[in-house]
């Protein structure tokens, strides 16, 4: 079938998506991370609520001061030189969280609802592409390629798709990203971890694909 885009159109399209998202949101996007957060939506929602309680630094500083007062008793500021205690340890206990806070929030991923919206809009985008190109067709198999290369048996197809899906879900989260997160966003930022991950998953997929094509 030759209805697919030529290589340069695909390259420009993928690059536009990635650059647009980086400029519009100042973040990377990653489909596997979106899956991770949507699948664990209960825990993520709880974390987001806790995060909102400490949204502004002043609330955090007050909470820390209250916790410190509760722990050490009301008295002189812990930062001030203490005549008989160990000021060094107090300072270490109290100061770092307040200093860490801005750095931690600036790299925060997009909210849970946004991640769910990413997955849904990928579906809608795919649907528009399939319908406008005339490729849309409801079917109960994965196409002639899968049938000839992997299996034609529907039971085996189901088992292999499920097993492959588990490997994809488990592997991408263990590696910390997939072809969009590591491949496009990470490699685009020349991050060593992403270049390593992309080389390894692409290399493995090449090896397994050759096995499926030539051996099995």
């Amino acid at each position: 079938m030759t209805t697919y885009w030529p290589w340069w159109a695909g390259a420009v399209g993928l690059a536009l998506v990635t650059v647009y998202h980086a400029l519009a949101t100042d973040r990377s996007f990653g489909v596997s991370s979106a899956w991770d957060r949507v699948v664990h939506w209960r825990r993520e929602r709880r974390l987001e609520r806790m995060d909102e309680e400490f949204a502004d630094d002043r609330a955090l500083a007050e909470a820390l001061a209250a916790a410190t007062a509760e722990h050490f008793g009301p008295g002189p500021s812990p930062v001030r030189q203490h005549p008989y205690g160990q000021p060094g340890t107090l300072r270490v206990d109290v100061e770092p969280p307040a200093g860490d806070r801005p750095a931690a929030t600036s790299g925060r991923p997009a909210p849970l609802f946004t991640q769910a919206a990413l997955l849904i809009s990928v579906f809608v985008g795919g649907l528009i592409a399939a319908v406008t190109s005339g490729r849309f067709e409801l079917r109960l198999d994965m196409g002639p390629g899968f049938r000839s290369l992997v299996t034609a048996d529907p039971v085996w197809m189901t088992v292999l798709l499920f097993a492959g899906g588990v490997l994809v879900g488990f592997g991408t989260r263990l590696a910390g990203g997939c072809s969009s997160g590591h491949g496009l966003n990470g490699c685009g930022r020349l991050r060593p971890v992403s270049i390593l991950a992309t080389a390894v998953f692409f290399g493995t997929a090449v090896a397994v694909s050759f096995l499926l094509w030539k051996v099995i």
């Binding site: 596997s32 795919g126 198999d141 588990v166 490997l167 090896a207």
Partner: protein
């Protein structure tokens, strides 16, 4: 300052464009995918590699900030598992969504597998691996 609404809107635009582009390149087509991985047809490979080259140049010109992330023990084994799963099922995590959108109903099974795998990884990591992926895992 970017509001939540602005980020949501931008992400929806990204998702629509990503789904549209990935489907039109042909990543949802298992035969095309296998031809890419076995180097019988370089079209999709060049799409991906070309995109990375353009992105690297654009980010360098625009001085997009980099978030440092160290290489942890999960990267190589995770990538090996992912590569194997991708070659067998034809799904990197976005592609089964695009496949279902194109009418390939069995890709719902791949999605079910991904959901199980993602859950399994978080559980196993908390219990056995203890890999610290940093605060900004992709």
């Amino acid at each position: 300052m970017r509001t939540r609404g602005a980020i949501l809107l931008a992400t929806v635009v990204t998702g629509l464009a990503l789904g549209f582009t990935v489907a039109n390149i042909g990543f949802g087509d298992y035969a095309e995918l296998n031809r890419m991985f076995t180097f019988q047809d370089l079209r999709m490979f060049l799409s991906f590699a070309g995109a990375v080259v353009i992105i690297v140049c654009a980010f360098a010109v625009l001085r997009v900030r980099r978030t440092p992330e160290r290489i942890h023990g999960g990267v190589v084994p995770g990538a090996v598992l992912f590569g194997t799963g991708w070659a067998i099922s034809g799904g990197c995590p976005a592609i089964p969504i695009v496949q279902v959108a194109g009418g390939y109903l069995p890709a719902l099974v791949t999605i079910a597998g991904i959901v199980v795998g993602v859950r399994l990884c978080r559980w196993a990591n908390a219990r056995y691996f203890h890999v610290d992926r940093g605060s900004c895992a992709l």
